[in-house]
């Protein structure tokens, strides 16, 4: 049991890092999109390892299908063969980004050593009772109760936010013939 868990953790995290690197460093945008899909599926696998079944299924539905289709439409609307020279910016900010990422990584590694993080966050081993509850009923019941009792106000506000985002994105992406000015030729299209 424990050995299987360990093997799955290492395999999934290796795949996740490889696909995330592919999503960032692939030379063409379509390759990086496909790599992003597999990275999100690997993140869903990590969620399963962390006893979060409902969140893992939501991850597959929302990220690996929904967001990918939206991005695919954007790529199809703008596709040209200029992807390759847009690969990465050979500018000073690239070095700055590597520096920031390295410093951040070192600080997180320092902070996640166990004797620092244990007293701060009160990490205790998983109790028997909670584990039995999770095995028999999953997390869906707990999450549903939380959404409709304690977090009901953010839940409703979130629905208003999604409605306004649908309307707003439709309005922004709409083609408005009067206001569009081509900046290169200075004429209305």
């Amino acid at each position: 049991m424990d050995l299987i868990y360990t093997a799955f953790f290492w395999i999934i995290s290796f795949l996740l890092i490889v696909f995330a690197l592919g999503a960032v460093f692939a030379p063409r945008i379509v390759y990086s999109l496909v790599s992003m899909v597999f990275a999100f599926l690997s993140v869903a696998g990590i969620f399963v390892l962390l006893n979060a079944d409902f969140v893992a299924v939501s991850q597959v539905i929302i990220y690996a299908v929904g967001i990918t289709i939206i991005l695919l439409f954007a790529i199809m609307l703008t596709g040209k063969n200029v992807d390759k020279k847009l690969w990465i910016a050979f500018a000073p900010r690239t070095l700055v980004s590597f520096g920031i990422a390295f410093m951040f990584f070192l600080s997180v590694v320092y902070c996640s050593l166990e004797n620092i993080i244990k007293p701060v966050f009160n990490i205790q081993p998983i109790s028997e009772e909670a584990a039995v509850t999770l095995i028999f009923s999953g997390t869906t019941e707990i999450l549903g109760r939380a959404f409709l009792t304690k977090y009901v106000l953010p839940f409703e506000i979130l629905s208003i936010l999604l409605l306004s985002v649908i309307l707003g994105s439709a309005v922004i992406a709409k083609k408005n013939d009067k206001n569009l000015v081509n900046p290169t030729t200075k004429e209305n299209r």
Binding site: V55, V108, I142, N182
Partner: protein, 113 residues
Amino acid sequence: MLLEVIKSIIFDIGLGHYLILAAILFCIGIIGLISSRNIIKILISIEILLNAVNINFIAFANYGDLYFLQGQVFALFVMAIAAAEVALGLAIFISMYRNKQSVDVEDYTTLKG
């Protein structure tokens, strides 16, 4: 002594492993966010950053409170807001593309940034 430490790092998967995995993912996202020129790749990097944060939330929910699972609730909120953010960002990007005919962020200089 050293062999035992390495053995415990490999075989005892704990909270620290997930935190370091999320940190690696976050670093990849930061590198992509700052150093890429294609605007769609910047959006992809933002999604990778949000996923790294979600891994942290769920790791703490698993090792911290398994009764209330507040980390998982928050991760679901983060997912919904990420979907909204992608939809709105792509709408802005498409209307921008109609004006500039380019996906290069270094061409988007209308705001003189």
